[in-house]
């Protein structure tokens, strides 16, 4: 299994079972087991949102998941991910993310520094979110009640789904269509060697066709809403988010907090 820890999720599950009294389904961000102290949800909703200008990529080439290679050289980073449920605390390990677009698709890459990499799942639409994983939430229409979720781990397992979230926060009305698979989606995962300090990196690159999301290619100046996240299992889970999510109760599905992607050429 090499770098990948096996059986750790089962251990976590057993530990959580002791905490919450049941573990009949995978723990998932959004479950209320991660409640922090109550916060003013309305005040949090008025926090600033991040914005990123998505560059047009000429000749994007094959997916390599290498952030130091074309088409990514010269493309600015999205910005730091901060821990969900905090006032902007950094994650233990840095994550670099870049996004671009072509005539046909969105390209996105995550480059994750890490210590131990937890990646058990290999099947499409398995609960990849219980591994160390990267996540994209994206609403191409700007309708924050309907969006898509893409989750991948270091072994290249993909969980993609279509979300209906009428309350903009994960509540009882939340619906997830896990059977949905994004037509034409391509992705690639890779990992680097262990450094002398025990650090490693792993990376995922995705190509998401506009047609797969049911939309035309954007025009310059179009705004999409999106959030980019990472889950890292260290001593305890850390959830990282591009857009500040100080209120952890609703997990990563807080679509009114999605940042802005502005398409440019």
């Amino acid at each position: 299994m090499g770098l990948y820890r096996v059986g750790r999720a089962a251990a976590i599950c057993a530990f959580l079972a002791g905490l919450v009294g049941a573990c009949n389904r995978p723990a998932r961000p959004g479950d209320d087991r991660a409640l922090t102290a109550p916060r003013d949800v309305a005040a949090d909703a008025a926090l600033p949102l991040p914005a990123y200008r998505v560059r047009y990529l000429d000749g994007a080439g094959p997916l390599t998941a290498r952030i130091d290679q074309p088409p990514w050289t010269g493309v600015p980073d999205l910005g730091r991910l901060t821990q969900v449920g905090t006032d902007g605390a950094p994650m233990r390990f840095d994550t670099r993310v870049k996004v671009g677009w072509t005539d046909k698709s969105i390209r996105i890459i995550w480059h994750c520094l890490d210590g131990e990499i937890l990646a058990e799942h290999v099947e499409r639409d398995s609960p990849v979110y219980t591994d160390d994983c990267v996540e994209l939430f994206v609403s191409p229409t700007g309708d924050l009640t309907r969006y898509f979720e893409f989750v991948a781990n270091a072994r290249g397992a993909m969980f993609d789904s279509k979300i209906a979230n009428p309350s903009l926060k994960r509540t009882g009305s939340f619906r997830i269509a896990e059977a949905w698979n994004c037509p034409g989606l391509r992705w690639h995962a890779t990992r680097g060697p262990v450094g002398s300090d025990g650090e490693r990196w792993w990376a995922v690159e995705m190509e998401i066709p506009f047609a797969g999301l049911g939309v035309e290619a954007p025009a310059v100046g179009d705004v999409w809403r999106a959030n980019v996240c990472r889950i890292d299992h260290v001593d305890s889970e850390q959830w990282g988010s591009w857009s500040a999510l100080p209120h952890r109760r609703y997990g990563l599905h807080q679509s009114d907090r999605f940042g802005l992607w502005i398409f440019e050429r």
Binding site: A42, A45, A46, L47, P48, L49, P50, A51, Y52, R53, L78, G79, R80, T141, G142, L144, T145, L168, A219, V220, G221, D222, V223, W242, D256, G259, L260, I262, E264
Partner: protein, 225 residues
């Protein structure tokens, strides 16, 4: 580092009373303020002049109020679509759609003049491709001004001036009435001409030269109940 876009949540108010431009009247005492305006060309340095901005919405329109503390209120333009921005003015840029190259601009001065235009800003940040449609007038736009002082009188120690405007959704290129939870892109401004001049903006604009037309930094207006 990503840009940080401010968020303002517009409350819905039914049965809006007539315009007053009075901070202590109508719906205004109960509504939250936009954050402090900052100086154009800075990383968020607060403007020295104090401006209170509030907004809300109804089934048919947006209401917005600027209350500007000012000890020397200056304005001379009185005609529709005169270059109000060359004097003391408050401004709104508002994009009801999902494309930041296409939006509307409103300027108001203390004499009750208005400049309104439909903006085409193909490069998102103003350059030579920028094209305002100045003859465009916002149908059924209402606005009133109020204030304390003798404007344009150098002997007068003025106190404040204010503008309240009512902008029908239907007049913004047929924009649909927003649903609760929906959002628009917008920025609000003030120009204060007492030296040293202050170009004030709600959303932080670190670059001075493109001026106010930096649509990629419009704030987010969220329509709530």
């Amino acid at each position: 580092m990503a840009d940080q876009i401010p968020v303002y949540r517009l409350k819905k108010v039914s049965n809006l009373p007539p315009l007053s431009a009075r901070l202590d009247q109508g719906p205004w005492p109960d509504l939250p303020e936009f954050g402090e305006l900052t100086l154009l060309g800075t990383a968020g340095e607060p403007a020295r002049c104090k401006t209170v901005v509030k907004a809300c919405w109804s089934d048919t329109s947006i209401r917005i109020l600027w209350h500007c503390e000012d000890d020397a209120v200056r304005a001379s333009h009185t005609k529709r679509d005169a270059p109000l921005w060359s004097e003391e003015v408050v401004e709104l840029f508002v994009c009801p759609g999902r494309n930041l190259t296409d939006y509307y601009e409103f300027n108001f001065n203390a004499l009750g003049a208005v400049f309104d235009a439909h903006i085409s800003n193909p490069s998102i940040i103003r350059n030579e491709s920028f094209k305002p449609d100045i003859p465009w007038n916002c149908e059924n736009l209402q606005w009133v001004v109020a204030g304390e002082g003798k404007f344009n009188n150098t002997a007068s120690q003025d106190k404040w001036w204010a503008v309240e405007a009512d902008i029908p959704f239907a007049s913004l290129g047929g924009a649909a009435v927003p649903r609760v939870g929906e959002y628009w892109h917008a920025n609000v401004f003030r120009i204060e001409r007492t030296e040293p001049e202050q170009y004030c903006t709600w959303s932080v604009l670190p670059a001075f030269k493109p001026g106010f037309h930096q649509a990629d930094r419009f704030g987010s207006w969220v329509f709530i109940e």
